[in-house]
Each structure stands twice: as C-alpha cells, then as structure tokens.
C-alpha cells in the first residue's frame, strides 16, 4: 500500500498556514451532532478532549486510571520547549525545527516537525493563560533553561514538575468541559477494541475495570492518545499501567505501526538495585545542565567517589564531546555511559552506573551568591552552604526523590545514574493530519510515530503532546468530520459492535480459562529481559533473530500457562495486566523484526554492525531513509511498507556534537 503522508505542497514555512486556510470546516450546529472518542487523558488526550469539547463536539474521554489527572504525562520533570526566543539567544521556529530534525537523526518527517515548532509558542501562551505556574524571574517574566541537544535556552519549566503542572492545566480544561456537559469522562475504563464499520473507525469496546462489564461506545472518530510502550521492556520509567493495548488493537484492525524499534534510553535514571525492581525512576535531564558526569580513570576503582581526586576522574562526555559536553542528546549520552560501564569503569555495587556530580555546581553557585552579597573572598564552607541552597531551589524535589530511593544524600555524594528505557519514538503511523491508515482513527502524542525521528530531544514530548491536542487535531479532525455530518450516530446494536464485543469477550474468556502456573508478572519480566538484552541499547542481527524466536516461544507459553486468579466480572488487576502483557509480547516481536530490518544505526537505534571508527552511530541514508510502517497480516506476520523521507530543508549529515 502506498502511504500518503498528505504533507501540503508549498514552502515549508507556509505549509501549515496554507493547510489551515484551506481545510474543510464543520459549522457549529453540526459539531454538536458529531461524537468523538478520546482514549487516554495525558497531555495529548486531555488537551484534545478539552479543545474539541470547547469547539462543541460531543466528546467521550476514557482513561484506565481512577482520574484523568493521573496519566503518566504527570511524571515528566524537566520542561517544555518553545521557540519564543525570550532569552534573545538566537532561537527561532527554524532553529527548533532544525534541532529537532537533527536531534532525531534525520528520521522524522520535516513537515510535521516544522508545524510542531510553529505552534510551540502558542502552547506556552495557552498554558500560562490556564494558570500553569511556570518558573519566573524576579522581574515577573518567564524563566528558561537549556536542555540536551540544543545550544539555546528555550525550555520552560516548573521546578522539576513541569509535566505535572502542564497536565493539571489540561486536566482542568478537560474538567471544565465535563462540567459544561461537552465531555463525558469514563475513568477506570480500558479500550479493548476499535469497532470498524464500512472501513471506518466508528467506536470502541471498553471494559469497565471496576465491574468488568464490556461497554460499546459509538464515535464518528476515535482518537488514540494512549501514550508509549516502553513497558515492553518491563523495567522503564513509564508508569506501571502504561501499555500498548489501545494502539495494538488499532494496529490489528489495520493501523500501520511506524518505526516500532525506535526507543529512547534516557541517560540519567536511578540504577537498578535488585531483582525486586518494579520500575525505574528518571532523574531529569535538566540535571545535566549543572551536574557533571564522570567515572574513575582506573577500571574497577572501588574507592568512595569523594576519595577519588580530581585528576583521576574521567569526565568522559566533556572529553569526547567538547562542544556539547554534558548536554549531548540522550542517545549519545546513554551509549557513552554504557560504553564506560562495559569497559569496566562503572561505579556502585553493581558497577552498572556512572556518577552525576554537583560538587562543582554547588561551588559555582555559592560563589555567585557570595558575590551578590558583596563578599568576594568567602569561606569555603559558606560558599558550599549558599551553593547548596541554590541547587536545592533548582532541583530540590529531584534530590529528595533520589535520597528517598537510594538512601544517599546527593548534596554530599555524587548521584549514581544509569540509562533506562524512557520513551518510544515509534508508534502508530499517522499522516500530516494525525490520521492513521484507518479512516477516522487518529493517534496523538507519544502514541504516534511522527515528530521525533529516531531520537527525541529533551522537553519535546510535552511540546508534541500539547501541540497535537490543542493546536493540530482541532483543525485536522474537522477536515474528516466535515464529510461525516450526514452520518447519524450509529446505534451500538449494530452487528459490528456485537461482533467486536464478542471477540473481546472471547479473548478474556480464553485468558481466564488457561488456569496455568505462571503469573502475568513473571511473563512480563521474561519478556523485558529478552527485549533489554537483545533489543536494548545495542542491537545486532544475531541477537535480534534469537529474540524473535524466544518471544514466539514465550507467547506460546503465555497462552498455555498463564495464571489469572479471580473473576472477570469484578475488579481484577491481574486480568487487566494479562491483556496488556499479551499485547506487549506481540509488539516485542514486531520491534525486533523492525530492528533487524533496519540495518543502520540512527538515534536511539544502535546496530552494532553500523558504527563509525570511534563508536558513534552510523546512518545509512541510501538504504534506510524511510519510515518503516508495518502492516499486521495475522499472527506473527507483518508486511513492511515504506514511506520515503524527503529532506527539503535540513540536509542529513553525520550528527556531530564534538
């Protein structure tokens, strides 16, 4: 099937304006008759549901959590990018666009990225108007900081809780629409299938997670804002409930899956402490602004960090990448950490960690503070005390979190960090309008594949989620719904709904009737281990081939030996998990197939077969400058469709941060 990305013709910077100027509109009276289903209430979902509700559509929003406010966008810490150029440091829409395409290692679609950069400024305006308390300077204006992969300060933030504040802003807008009756909220509900009628998405089957009942919901369009699938690795920084199920059901109903192997491994996470570990905790990338990353120069050095003298420390990022130093993009920083640890320079009990050290920053800030108060020859202890105060103001909540988890005081000892799965750039393939290959079915935010290429820059996920929800879908959805105004709401007695519900019910029964011996959790852990070992930070053909076979075996075992206690007609968290893990297993296989197919290194996808002499990722633009969009063809069977990537503006070169 030929994929039509529907990128508007014309000059790059006019595309979105032209599109908006010519797109079909739905008049207000007709909007009231049109129903839209939104799955997920993170930044993308909550903002889309709120914006569409404001426009007058009848929206039904679903989330599996007990409240829409708990979606995992809330855990994003560092910030949100916007091309505001408030710092007068040369930022512009073009630079944000350029940085994002380059940061994504030339595997993103230029048109989408440019639009993202264009609407970024409006997001900040909208959030401030909603009462989002961004950090401010003493003059009352907004404060910015820098983030990995860029050389300007364009990141807006609210201490280490930017995601929380943005999500609560979108959540409040959503609740306002609920109060006005434009949005109906279904919390503790999980979408278990898309209902197709005459080739279009026309509704969903959802399960009420409190009483286990299956429900049918009609919609003229269905929006999947269900987040990423990092939990396929079992251990990730995602929330425990984050899952691929909604996207996977859509995939099985005909939506192509784009670049599934593109996974972001975030460099600064708290290392694994033991087998009991249920999830990993991110330490915001913003820490790399002030923290310096190092390992001992001597392998297997078991001295305490503070006992290792300055000249015996290897600040390897500063050494290898003098231009960007500790602020190289995430994929680069992660691989560099892995390289040092694999070579025996790791620290901590497991030796799978590197240091992130604030001692210098504390001294630097302390001196500035002393200078401000007119003291130009302050005592060392005073400098440190004042410096700690500044660092606490900037990163206090992160330091506290680190201390709670590890029991170590990061103001005194350097933090130990190690890369962990954090974000998935891959997702459902969508065109410029965010529509999947299924008419009427859209994917927004992390659930789609579109804007970050093979590596996402820090502070861009929040930007994309809100851009899609607030400023893109309100226009592009109208273009589809304008042709649907004659479609009356379809009664859910329609056979398509009955069939879909039966299929969902059959699968649940099948799961419940296995009555095997192994818990869902155990299968999930095993899947995670295969994925992390063979489809993680470094991948090769042999490992991937093995992984595919192992996953297929795991799948068989799962469907014959999984143990789910309890009943399906009640709250049953094991059943919920079982359905999700079953989907993760299938996805894991596709990820390995995609990783195997892409015999090049790009961004977060590092094929050992394709690297430069000094170990950097080596792209193969001649053969792989395309989006791999996989079409589901049946059990363990997919067909590859390629959407060629064309670069009009940013010419692909070997990325260099040296």
């Amino acid at each position: 099937m030929a994929l039509d990305s529907k990128i508007p013709a014309g000059e790059m910077k006019e595309k979105w304006n032209d599109y908006k100027g010519h797109v079909k509109l739905v008049n207000p009276a007709n909007k009231r008759k049109l129903e839209v289903i939104v799955i997920g209430t993170g930044l993308a979902g909550a903002s889309a549901a709120a914006a569409l509700g404001e426009m007058g559509y009848q929206v039904k929003a679903f989330c599996f959590q007990d409240s829409p406010r708990r979606a995992h966008s809330i855990a994003a810490q560092g910030g949100i990018n916007a091309a505001k150029n408030y710092q007068n440091d040369g930022d512009s829409v073009f630079r944000l666009f350029y940085d994002t395409v380059k940061g994504g290692d030339y595997r993103a679609r230029e048109g989408n990225v440019h639009r993202l950069a264009e609407v970024s400024a409006a997001i900040i305006d909208q959030c401030v108007a909603q009462g989002v308390p961004f950090a401010r300077e003493y003059g009352g204006l907004l404060s910015n900081r820098s983030f990995g992969g860029t050389q300007v300060q364009r990141t807006f933030y609210a201490a280490g809780q930017t995601g929380q504040q943005l999500l609560l802003g979108a959540y409040s807008a959503l609740e306002r629409q609920v109060a006005l009756g434009n949005v109906t909220m279904y919390s503790r509900h999980e979408m278990l299938d898309v209902v197709m009628i005459d080739g279009k998405a026309r509704g969903i089957i959802a399960r009420d997670l409190v009483n286990g009942k299956l429900e049918r919901h009609f919609g003229h369009a269905v929006l999947l804002c269900s987040g990423g699938y990092g939990n396929v690795f079992y251990l990730s920084t995602n929330a425990m409930g984050s899952n691929v199920t909604a996207a996977w059901k859509a995939h099985k109903k005909g939506a192509f899956f784009g670049n599934p192997c593109f996974t972001q491994i975030h460099p600064t996470c708290i290392p694994v402490s033991g087998d009991h570990q249920s999830k990993l905790t991110l330490m915001s990338e913003s820490l790399r602004n002030d923290g310096r990353i190092w390992v001992p120069k001597q392998a297997n050095d078991s001295r305490k960090a503070t006992d290792i003298p300055e000249e015996e420390r290897d600040y390897y990022l500063e050494r290898r990448y003098p231009a960007f130093g500790n602020l190289v993009p995430r994929d680069v920083a992660s691989r560099a950490a892995k390289e040092r640890c694999d070579a025996g320079f790791g620290v901590g009990t497991t030796k799978m960690a590197v240091y992130l050290d604030f001692a210098d920053a504390i001294k630097r800030y302390g001196k500035i503070e002393a200078g401000k108060s007119g003291n130009h020859s302050p005592a060392e202890a005073d400098v440190i005390a004042m410096g700690k105060k500044v660092v606490a103001e900037k990163y206090g909540n992160l330091f506290e979190m680190y201390e709670k988890i590890t029991g170590e005081n990061p103001y005194e000892l350097p933090m130990r960090i190690y890369p962990a799965v954090h974000y998935t750039m891959g997702g459902l393939w969508v065109d410029y309008e965010l529509q999947t290959t299924v008419p009427g079915l859209y994917a927004l935010g992390e659930a789609n594949f579109s804007d970050h290429g093979a590596n996402r820059l820090g502070a861009s996920a929040l930007m994309q989620g809100l851009a899609d929800g607030y400023f893109v879908i309100p226009y592009t959805l109208g273009n589809y719904l304008a042709d649907e105004i004659r479609t009356a709401a379809i009664n859910t007695d329609h056979p398509a709904f009955a069939d879909a519900e039966k299929a969902v019910n059959d699968r649940i029964n099948q799961l419940m009737n296995i009555k095997g011996n192994e818990s869902v959790e155990s299968f999930h852990k095993r899947l995670g281990k295969i994925m992390w070992d063979k489809c993680g930070m470094a991948r090769n053909a042999q490992g991937l081939t093995q992984a595919i076979a192992e996953i297929q075996r795991l799948k068989k075992e799962f469907w014959s030996n999984v143990k789910i206690p309890g009943d399906k007609n009640e709250m049953n968290t094991e059943l919920d998990k079982a359905g999700r893990v079953a989907d993760f297993i299938e996805l894991g296989e596709l990820m390995c197939i995609d990783a195997l197919n892409r015999n090049e290194s790009c961004g977060g996808h590092f094929r050992e077969e394709s690297q430069t002499e000094d170990g950097e990722a080596k792209r193969d633009d001649d053969n792989y400058s395309y989006v791999a969009a996989w079409e589901y063809k049946g059990d363990s069977s997919w067909e590859l469709n390629k959407e060629p990537l064309e670069f009009e503006i940013v010419k692909p070169t070997q990325r260099s941060y040296k």
Binding site: D66, S67, R70, I74, I124, Q126, L142, S172, S519, T573
Partner: protein, 254 residues
Amino acid sequence: MEHYHMNLTLKVWRQKNSQASGNFDTHSVKNISSEMSFLEMFDVLNEQLIESGKEPIAFDHDCREGICGACSMYIDGQPHGPWQKNTTCQLHMRAFKDGDTIVVEPWRSKAFPVIKDLVVDRGAFDRIIQAGGYISVNTGNAVDANALPIDKKKADDAFDAASCIGCGACVATCKNGSAMLFVSAKVSQLALLPQGEPERQSRVLNMVAQMDKEGFGNCTNTYACEAECPKGISVANIARMNREYLGASLGSED
C-alpha cells in the same frame, strides 16, 4: 547505606467490592530487602498469593515515583506510612525492621468509598475541580505568555499550592475527613495568579459548595493534613481559602 533483609507480618484490609463488608487478612513475607519500595514488597506478597491460588490484593498505583497521586495506603496508622513528605510508592523498606507487623488499610472517608481491598473511589476530587478548579480560557484565546508579568513570590506560592497530587492523604488523615487542604490548594493557586482573577469569587463559592455536597467533614485546624501531605502543602492555603470565601460571600449579591 547498609542493606539488610527482613521478615514481616502484614495485616491487610480485604474487601471484595463496595457492597461487601471487609476484614483483615494476615500474611507473612520473608526475606524482604531494605532497598525495596513498599509497593515492591506488596508485589512480592501478591506473587505469593497468586502462587497459592489466592486473589492478589488490589491497590491503586501507577507512576511509582511519587507524582501521579494514585497510591493510597494507610500504613501503620499514617497515610503513606511513617515517612513525612512521602508517598506510599516512595516509602522504602528501610523504614521497617525485621519482625515488624504492619497494618495496611484503605483511606477511610464517607466521600471515598472503598471499591475493592485498598482501592477507593476519589471521584469526589474530580467533581470539586469540575465545580470551578480551572480558568475559563478556550484554546487559542491566550495572549503572549510574557504580556502579564507575575510577581515571582506569588508565582512561587501558586506553584507550591499547585504541587498537590490529589492523592487524598489530607482527607485520610484528618480526624474530620475534611478535604480543605486539597480544595484550598487549587483555590489558592488560581487566586494568586492574575489569570484567575475574573472567576475568583464564583470559583471559591462553587468549589466549597461541591466539597460540602460530597460529604467531607469540616476543618478544625488540627493541621494533620499539612504534616502528612506528601508535597508539604501548607495550611496557609486553607487560611487563604477562608479569606477568599469570606470576601466572596460577603460581596456576593445572591
């Protein structure tokens, strides 16, 4: 940090559904690492229950990094357990020692009915927000973000109030089951910002009316909520809400 292992006895509230009456079950877990989080210890217990053919204990949890506000256990007589400024998911087992018996109960409040085991329905919080916890600005209506400078102190105070995660520990710990800390945090955040000004009066009146309707108790200023709040939200916010309410209701024409 010294690591150690421990054996524990857990006394956990079990309740099949909202209609059923519940009871305590006693379980023992062995060889728990001091490096585990409290919920990871629960994972171990649940795996153990599944293994022996029993139903695992249902509890709310999601992000496990102290920000989503889902986790909600009353552990040994305190919401989120013995550590201050902490959520259940961030409570680590080094807070306990070998041989301890730990009692785990759901939030107890008329407004938070138990759904199953340790899971409660906190929908009341969403309905309070629906009553006015927002600024009525449609998408696309905003002026430039820097058009309106905001006093840093006020912005910081608004941020502190906005850091509420809506977990409900304030209600759970309050001897009166009052939701004033939660409501006042949102009222304060929006009252402190110039963007919140136009709806300032109706917001506080409507949110308080909804709070009362949900069946929460009344504040008697014991300040237990502030002491137990995982985000350390200050009771100064409650005073601010009292002021806002007094001003709004005295000035109101109806």
